[in-house]
Amino acid sequence: MSKRFQSILTPIIALLLGIIVGTIIMLCTGYNPVAAFTALWDGAFGSPYYFGEVVRQVTPYILAGLAVAFAFRVGLFNIGVEGQFLVGWLASVWVGLAFHLPKFIHLPLAILASIVAGALWAYIPGLLKARFRVHEVIVTIMMNYTALYVCNSIIQNVITNGQERTPNIPDSASLASPFLQSLTQYSRLHWGIFLAIICCFIMWFLLEKTTRGYELRAVGYNQDAAHYAGMSVNKNIILSMVISGAFAGLAGAMEGLGTFGYIAIKSSFTGVGFNGIAVALLGGNTAIGVFFAALLFGALEVGSLNMPLEAGVPNELVDIIIALIVFFVASSYIIRWFLERISKKEAK
């Protein structure tokens, strides 16, 4: 069995295992799995409206997935996507509200603000990793909570006067598209999906086709070898965290400028950043893989909202399935081990 075939087969097996265990859970709790999965499918693809909502949900998932995947490829684990996503969201809305400019300046400026905010928020763990060898996992987790509370405080005390949410951004900073909405029975679909697809290309091109990308990957494979070859490991660590954070920040702009048009204080995380981890893992940390994995998770999340209505199954079931997929992808050693045994038997 070729390595390439195996690397495609492993996530598919993880996905199937996740669905199988999800089915077992439903059978044990007395729900009808067939009805549940039918409702899930209908809720994702049953009408143009639902499909528009799926694409809308996929947009931030692609970018969050790219953020996690990019860092992974350089050997870093960015759990801080959720925090970078929040500061990106806040920055985009803030710029959207603070200025009155023509659209062709205002919208790019608001998007740029989200990218810069996310990049800066990721710069700190990158710098600490490069300068002090501090593990980025812990720092990014801690910065998630810092982002959550700081954003809430800024929304309440700086942007508004003690309000729970900001006003809506003006049209000049909005990604909303009446055209796309009318195509999909007035879902909240917006232009952001094209930005997300462009970002997939950027990630692929940057990593696979440029010298800088080669250096980044080299650092990911073997830091010592990269250092010996004259590459600056520290510079590449910081750079990759900054790029990863930029993707995450842009994901925030998708919510701030596209889906919602405002930001509200949050009692807990949105989950977009954490689903980004699942997306990146299932997508094998490649741009194209992330795209398809985001499509899958977007469809699961949006479709699941239909499950309580049509099949009476709590939509949290989908969260369990997503968690199981992450669990099985993480444990892929055992899947590969099985695959190798099977292929060895065939060879004999």
Partner: protein
């Protein structure tokens, strides 16, 4: 308000908020001392909180006043069993410890919120009737000055947490078991050469973290929140993780840090009723544990050194 009165409000409240963090952080110490990174502490607390509340609501009539304690025991067992998933993935299946921990967190939130809807047909449980109550500790409460501050209007679980921390310190640093546990976390190959079963020790480390994390979640649910919903455990597990790092992977250090974080948490709750604290925006208190952890890791507050083989798989025969 006199200084004495302020202390009489702050100290019991700090100890109450610290108790769940102390238990869970100690769990983290056991796991990481054995060499298994445990980002999943949050998820273990979710399971503990959920189990204790469901058991408490179901059996309150049967067990009466003993219910919270029995619930805590059940939460401990449930969470220990749940932590086996992390152990199997991270130790036997050679999963990346961090990714597996993230999966544990996602799985715990998914399963518990799913089961709450399945059992109660709504997003949250009822309020428990038998919860941990405030008590005055006999004899000790009569000590002048110290008595009213530390031993009146307080909770048994707070003191249990501190006692457990000392027991954990004794186990890890003064017993052969502790020595073995630490050795597989520092240099598993050397430990293996000496005939220590690395896999077994690591499983024990993770299961202990599950048991203690479950108690932590149970204490939080039964003493502080009194019910279970999707927002009951929101970051306490990561705060416990922070306390463990801040305490340099040492049981007593972790306890000290957990008490400090409990202080920060309780201040952000009761701060508004205390003079002089109203002017501090609560956001500073909310982010204090996280920012301090980053500073500690960076080395500004003494070097925090993790066990050497923390997060490293031990594969027999490789070097």
């Amino acid at each position: 308000m006199s200084f004495m009165e302020i202390l009489m409000i702050i100290v019991p409240s700090t100890l109450l908020w610290a108790a769940p963090l102390v238990f869970t952080a100690l769990g983290g110490v056991f796991s990481e001392r054995s060499g298994v990174v445990n980002i999943g502490l949050e998820g273990l607390m979710w399971v503990g909180a959920f189990t204790s509340i469901v058991f408490n609501l179901t059996f309150a009539h049967t067990f009466g006043a003993a219910t919270p304690w029995i619930s805590l025991l059940v939460a401990m067992i449930a969470s220990a069993v749940f932590s086996l998933l992390h152990a199997v993935a991270a130790i036997t299946f050679r999963a990346d410890h961090t990714v597996s921990g993230v999966a544990i967190n996602l799985l715990a939130t998914g399963i518990t919120t799913f089961l709450v809807k399945f059992i109660y047909n709504k997003g949250e449980t009822d309020i428990i009737q038998q919860s941990f109550n405030k008590i005055d500790i006999p004899v000790l409460k009569n000590i002048p000055v110290i008595g009213p501050i530390f031993f009146q209007n307080t909770y048994w679980v707070s003191y249990l947490a501190i006692i457990v921390a000392f027991i954990a310190w004794y186990i890890i640093y003064k017993t052969p078991f502790g020595l073995r546990l630490r050795s597989v976390g520092e240099h598993p190959m050397a430990a293996d050469t000496m005939g220590i079963n690395v896999t077994k020790m690591r499983y024990i480390g993770v299961i202990l973290s599950g048991a203690l994390g479950g108690i932590g979640g149970g204490v939080y649910a039964e003493a502080i929140s009194s019910n279970f919903s999707h927002a009951t455990i929101s970051g306490q597990g990561f705060m416990a993780l922070a306390a463990m790092i801040f305490g340099k992977w040492h049981p007593l250090g972790a306890m000290g840090a957990a008490v400090f974080f409990g202080f920060a948490q309780s201040l952000s709750i009761i701060g508004s009723s205390l003079p002089g604290l109203k002017s501090i925006p609560s956001v500073y208190l909310l982010i204090a544990p996280y920012v301090l952890t980053i500073l500690a890791l960076t080395g500004f507050i003494g070097r925090a050194e993790a066990p050497k083989a923390d997060g490293v798989h031990y594969i027999k025969g490789s070097r």
